[in-house]
Symmetry: D2
Amino acid sequence: MKVILDLCVIPLGVGVSLSKYITACEQVLKEANLKTYLHAYGTNVEGEWDQVLSAVKQCHEVLHQMGVPRISTSIRLGTRIDRQQTMQEKVESVEKRLKGKKDKRPKGKGHF
Amino acid sequence: MKVILDLCVIPLGVGVSLSKYITACEQVLKEANLKTYLHAYGTNVEGEWDQVLSAVKQCHEVLHQMGVPRISTSIRLGTRIDRQQTMQEKVESVEKRLKGKKDKRPKGKGHF
Amino acid sequence: MKVILDLCVIPLGVGVSLSKYITACEQVLKEANLKTYLHAYGTNVEGEWDQVLSAVKQCHEVLHQMGVPRISTSIRLGTRIDRQQTMQEKVESVEKRLKGKKDKRPKGKGHF
Amino acid sequence: MKVILDLCVIPLGVGVSLSKYITACEQVLKEANLKTYLHAYGTNVEGEWDQVLSAVKQCHEVLHQMGVPRISTSIRLGTRIDRQQTMQEKVESVEKRLKGKKDKRPKGKGHF
């Protein structure tokens, strides 16, 4: 079963600068050979369910090994059996529609 | 590794009445012998990481078998290595503080 | 527009014991006269959109005033125009189905 | 109060193809003159709290006007008073660290 997952790991008890820990998670995901896409409030991950969820577990293990006493993670995850869909296709299907709407606007009046 | 997880499974493509599918997920969790607590926007689950996450996967599998073409799930999950903490303890620690504050208020002036 | 919202506020930079801050948020919600329901990974809130979201903002303001330097909040929120539905009805519709399934099982064989 | 928010709007009761509705939300956000960043499981938004949350409400209103009977939205949102931080800075602080780690690896041995 393929899954597209969005991962936001929040280490607690280590102050307010979290980029060191987010970077460690990014490395876990990359070393698991998963397709990832970092954004400003998490990371998109694409792959087989077991492989992806195993990497999420490893993120928690690695952070605890780095001394993080407590972690609170927020995840969105999607599966579908009607058709295959990649992360890239999801973004492109919206961008294509946005572009179509933009092109239809009267010249010089669009906000974007 | 113990985990406290909050699970909100959203079946797509099957209309707006979702309780049949939420019930199926509740049964998966209960048959996995996990401690669960149903609320109005999800279900708290407590147990060992592998057991809990395996049950989440089974929720997706069971719903797809019921004909749900697409599922989007939202999860919060917490682990800690500083001490053990149950779902019940989390709720009680807040309720105890709320009660303490309530008792300190002048009589007849409290909102709750 | 009515909304059912699930709120999980995570204060950062104040260590691992968060119940003091969760309690402060509970008080904000109660003093806003909103129906709330505390669980182990957040709080269900029910009310008018503006009233509920204004209380969420106030939670952030109160926590920052208490000295919390950074907050990361996770929210689920639902609106519907097909019919009215309360938090209690959402839970009861699942519990009723679960009870129905339980009663149909052969005696002495149920897991729950 | 500045906020960085991640928005994932899920329309229910309109089948499995959601890009039409996601596009409508993107337009609401852009017409509110908010900085946005679309990814595969939501959209990052940056701005003043009231402006951003007002746009989220408008997304629900516009989708209901388009005929969506029920909406379930997942949000992450962060505020901080210790310093200003943009979405771009959050991503760059991790990317910089990732690049640093990559450059330090022995040649020909990196995974990425």
